[in-house]
Structure formats: structure tokens, C-alpha cells
């Protein structure tokens, strides 16, 4: 159930949003969509992969958060925090989303992006959350941050799509099978993930390479490839979790 409405400082003057992360908010997931507009921050924390949309066959850029279904190794369920230096925009944007408004009558865009809020979202916590608006109706620093995040997502959707189709066009995407063995001997065989083929990238012909570089995707390709190493962080977190579990 969602209930998307245009955010405004009259109807939502008392709106407050929980600063916490919880399973009941939908935070206990093992992947989250991400965009090249936040790649710089994401690549140093999360293993990034491509996933194929079963319906459209199109690739999507995602960050891996856990090995099992409904496992988010960054989620601390005791103090309801997200333990990472950077939280993906799709999560930290809270219950807000981009809607579109026809502003052509006022000389604006027919599809002008505006901020909507999902009033059915469980992150809304008018008693203890952080205020969206200031006392007299101005934007709170929190809302300014949300605006910036939504911008990142809005711009990222199209640019990420363009990047992925450039990778697909040059046949740079290959499937990757990950076999993970934990300290306790448990193994996880992760499938359905794709990444940039280092071999194909290394043998890319001059013209294609130049095209990729000019579009700014070459450094993104390396960043995505390199982010696989972050899987060690996930293993570490998982081992620690197993250890804590045994000690309890």
C-alpha cells in the first residue's frame, strides 16, 4: 500500500521522518538499486553488480548488501542503524520520491519533477522523527538533503541506463559466479550477478575504448569491476555476525 502525495509545507507541516533503519521499514534486503551519480561514494563501500530485469531483459546497477534472502549485513537491528560510511540514496531518501507536475500553464515544464511523499510509508514518525519543515514553513536541512538525494536519483536513472546500454552494446557485460566460504565452513553460491569483463575491456579496440572514455564510462567500468573487492567486507561482517551468534 502506498499513498503518494505532493509534499507541501501546509499539509505536511508536522511531518517527521524516523532517522532509523529497520526490517519493518523494508531495510532488510540483500540488494538495493544504485546509480552512477552516487558511484564515487558507493564503490568504496559496497560490491556493485548488474542484475538483469526478468521482464525487460535490461540490466540494472545494484549494490549487494547480503548473501541470503532478506539479509542486510549493514543493518544493525539492535540500535536500528545502517553501519556504513555511505548509505545508498534509495534508502536514505526515506519515504520521499520524485513525482511529476504539469507546470506548463505557468510557463514551466510539462513534466516538472517535484517532491512527493508516501504517506503510507512506515518511516513516518511524527512523534520522534526528524522534522521535514522548519517551525515557520521553511525547508529543514534534512529536507534539503532529501532534495539533493532525489536529484541524484532523478539524474541517475537516465544516465545509468545510458551507461548500461553502452556496456551492453560493446559486449562488456559478463556473468560472475561467486563462491563464498565462511569461517564456520558455510558456503554461499551467488548467481545472477553480472559485471564488467576485464578481459573484454582489456582487448577493446581503440575506437570503442575512446568512445567509452569520452562518454566518461571507462572510469565507471573500472570502479564497478574494482568494487567486487568489497565482498570481503561483507564476508567479514557475516563472519562477525556468526561469531556473535555463537557467543550469545
Amino acid at each position: 500500500m502506498t499513498e503518494h502525495v505532493l509534499l507541501d509545507n501546509i499539509n505536511h507541516q508536522d511531518l517527521k521522518i524516523s532517522p532509523h533503519f529497520k526490517a519493518e521499514f523494508g531495510d532488510k534486503v540483500n540488494t538495493v538499486a544504485t546509480f552512477i551519480t552516487e558511484l564515487t561514494e558507493m564503490q568504496s563501500v559496497y560490491p556493485l553488480f548488474f542484475r538483469k530485469d526478468n521482464n525487460t531483459g535490461e540490466y540494472q546497477l545494484v549494490a549487494m548488501l547480503g548473501f541470503e534472502q532478506d539479509e542486510n549485513l549493514f543493518l544493525n537491528e539492535t540500535n536500528h542503524s545502517w553501519q556504513a560510511d555511505y548509505i545508498p540514496a534509495m534508502v536514505s531518501k526515506g519515504p520521499f520520491l520524485i513525482g511529476f507536475q504539469d507546470q506548463s500553464q505557468d510557463g514551466g515544464n510539462e513534466q516538472a519533477p517535484v517532491v512527493h511523499v508516501d504517506m503510507a510509508n512506515k518511516r513516518i514518525d511524527n512523534d520522534n522523527g526528524q522534522a521535514v519543515f522548519l517551525d515557520h514553513g521553511g525547508n529543514s536541512p534534512y529536507l534539503n538533503r532529501i532534495n539533493a538525494l532525489l536529484q541524484k536519483i532523478y539524474q541517475g536513472v537516465e544516465t545509468t541506463k545510458a551507461m548500461l546500454s553502452a556496456f551492453a552494446e560493446l559486449d562488456l557485460i559478463e556473468t560472475v559466479n561467486l563462491e563464498i566460504t565462511l569461517q564456520n565452513g558455510n558456503t554461499h553460491n551467488l548467481q545472477g550477478n553480472y559485471t564488467i569483463s576485464s578481459e573484454k575491456l582489456a582487448t577493446l579496440a581503440g575506437a570503442s575504448l575512446e568512445k567509452l572514455n569520452k562518454a566518461g564510462y571507462l572510469k565507471e567500468a573500472f570502479a564497478i569491476m574494482g568494487s567486487i573487492n568489497n565482498i570481503n567486507k561483507l564476508i567479514l561482517l557475516k563472519n562477525r555476525q556468526a561469531l556473535n551468534h555463537n557467543n550469545e
Binding site: D102, S104, Q105, L134, D135, H136, G138, N139
Partner: protein
Amino acid sequence: MTLICKKTPVIDGADIYTIKATISNLTSPVIIKGLVKHWPLVQAGLQSDRTAIDYLTAHYNGKNAGVYFGAADINGRFGYNASATELNFSINKMPLDEMLEKIHSTSNIENAESLYIASNSIDHYFPSLRQDNDIAFADDAFSPLTPKEAGLLASIWIGNKTVVACHYDAQSNLACCIAGRRRFTLFPPDQIANLYPGPLAPTPGGQVISMVDFANPDFEKHPKFKLALESAQVAEMEPGDALLLPSMWWHQVEGLAPFNILINYWWNTTPSYLGQPADVLTHALLSIKNCPPEEKKAWKAIFDYYIFSEENEATTHLPKEAHGALAKIDPLMARRLRGKLLNKLNR
């Protein structure tokens, strides 16, 4: 309107050079007879409405636009319901060629519904129209601003018999009657109180309108409108005529024929880095309107001194280095003031 005797002065046979001179010292309205009569669209309209519609349709790019639909009983006057809380017409999105046919189909109907394609950017909907139907403004026509800095915008207005209620615009205007007949009823800016302005919101087209029905004025309800009429003037225009209208003048615009086209140019007289005076009004409503009377009087004196006085009144007694925001505002100072306002306002 039989009560207004004064007619807007007419310049005959003007060319682009006289316009330039007229624009640069524009203080009151003037009609330039036949300025755009040579335009192919005007010539098409003189043949028939059908020819004009076909000409327009050939340049149309198919994009949907907002169009006005008013019931026959509003008599073409786009305004308010009885309580002035809602508009008395609806705005729909549709293809303009379809709307043109709809307008054309009402030409033989007495008491037709009021149909209006209001204020649509020509470049946005009829991208090739201006190739052969445009005024070649000189680069220094809007001096000291370039046409780009002046934000020159060309719009098209098409309808059957319609009345756009009296309002003012912040931009200067060159309005060209292309087809049909137009009547502008004009009032100097100081007539605001005698025109009984309506609600600040909603408004039919973004601007506050006079609540007086000029076709049937109620002098009991609006007695001061008689005073407005004393300083009013009427500009009657036929195809090819253009009206140069200074910014801030109140104007009612009537399409009088069964099919009317108007093309107008709007431009700003100040650079875009400056703020909008209309925003100052909003801010003043928030900040000054509800002060005690004595304080309001004091603020009036302060505004008179800083804002409405002779250009140098607030600075001549100060060393130049100390003029700060009292000096002529440049883009850098505009940024400073904007930043300060944004911070102050956000609370």
C-alpha cells in the same frame, strides 16, 4: 465601451526603425498601423479564416497545449464563479489543430461556448512559423539589454469571441492583431484602486484581474470605476496593426470577430539577475501588511527613501566605498542579496 472617448494614438506606416525609437522611450501606448500586414499569416487571414488555419496547421508540431473552454453564459469573459474562489472556465490539454477546428466550427453559431488558445509560445508549438512571420528587432532595440537579456518571448493567442479581463503584466508588450479584430481597453498603472482587483489566487492567467465587468459595469458595487474610465483609452486593431504597450499598464483584451489571432512579443526592461517586483509584494504581505499602522507608515517612509526616491538620494552623502547594496546592483551584488534573503526566509 461607449463611455471611453479617448483613442490610443496611431502612428502610420511605421517601420522597424521607428519602433526602436518608440520602444526606447515608451511611456504610453501607441498603435503602429499595418506594422505586420505583409506577414503571410496576416495575408492568409485576410483571404479567409480557413486559409489562416491551414497556414497555422502546416507549421504546428503536434504538441498538446492548455486551452480554455468557457460555457456560453460567461459571454467570453474568462473570470470567476460567484464567490470568486474558482475560475468560471476549464483548462484542458489537447492538440492545437483540433482546437483550431473547434474554434472555426463555432463561427456561425450565436452564443457559442468561449474557446481560447491563450498565450502559447510560438517556438514551442509552431517552430517554423516565425521564419516568415516575425519582427526583426534590432540588436539594440531593448538597449541597454540585448534581445536575449530582455528575454524576448513570442506568443500566439487564438480564439472566437473572448474577453481577457483587465490585468497588468510586468513585461513590455508588442501585440499584433493577425486575424479578426482586437480591442484593447487601457488604463495607466495608477488606476489600480479604481479597477477593483480580484483575488491574488487563483487567477485566470497568472495575473490578478479587475472584478469590474466592463461590458456591464455595476457602478453601485464599483463606483470608482467611473474615475478609471476618465483616464482610460481604447485601441481598436485590425489585421496587421500592432500595439506597443508599456509594462504595468492595465489592459482588457477582446477578440471581436468570430475568429481572432493575436501574436505578441514580451520583453523585460531589467536584467534577469535582478529579482521580481511581484515577489517583493508577496514578501511585503508576509512582513509589512500586518504591522501596526504607525510602523507601516514608518516603513513607507523608509521604502520611499531607499527604493522610490531619485536614483542617488540615499548615496550622495556617503563615500563611494560605503555604497554597498545602495549602489547600482550588479550580478555579484544580486547574488549576495539573494543568498542573504534565502537564508533569512528559510525558517
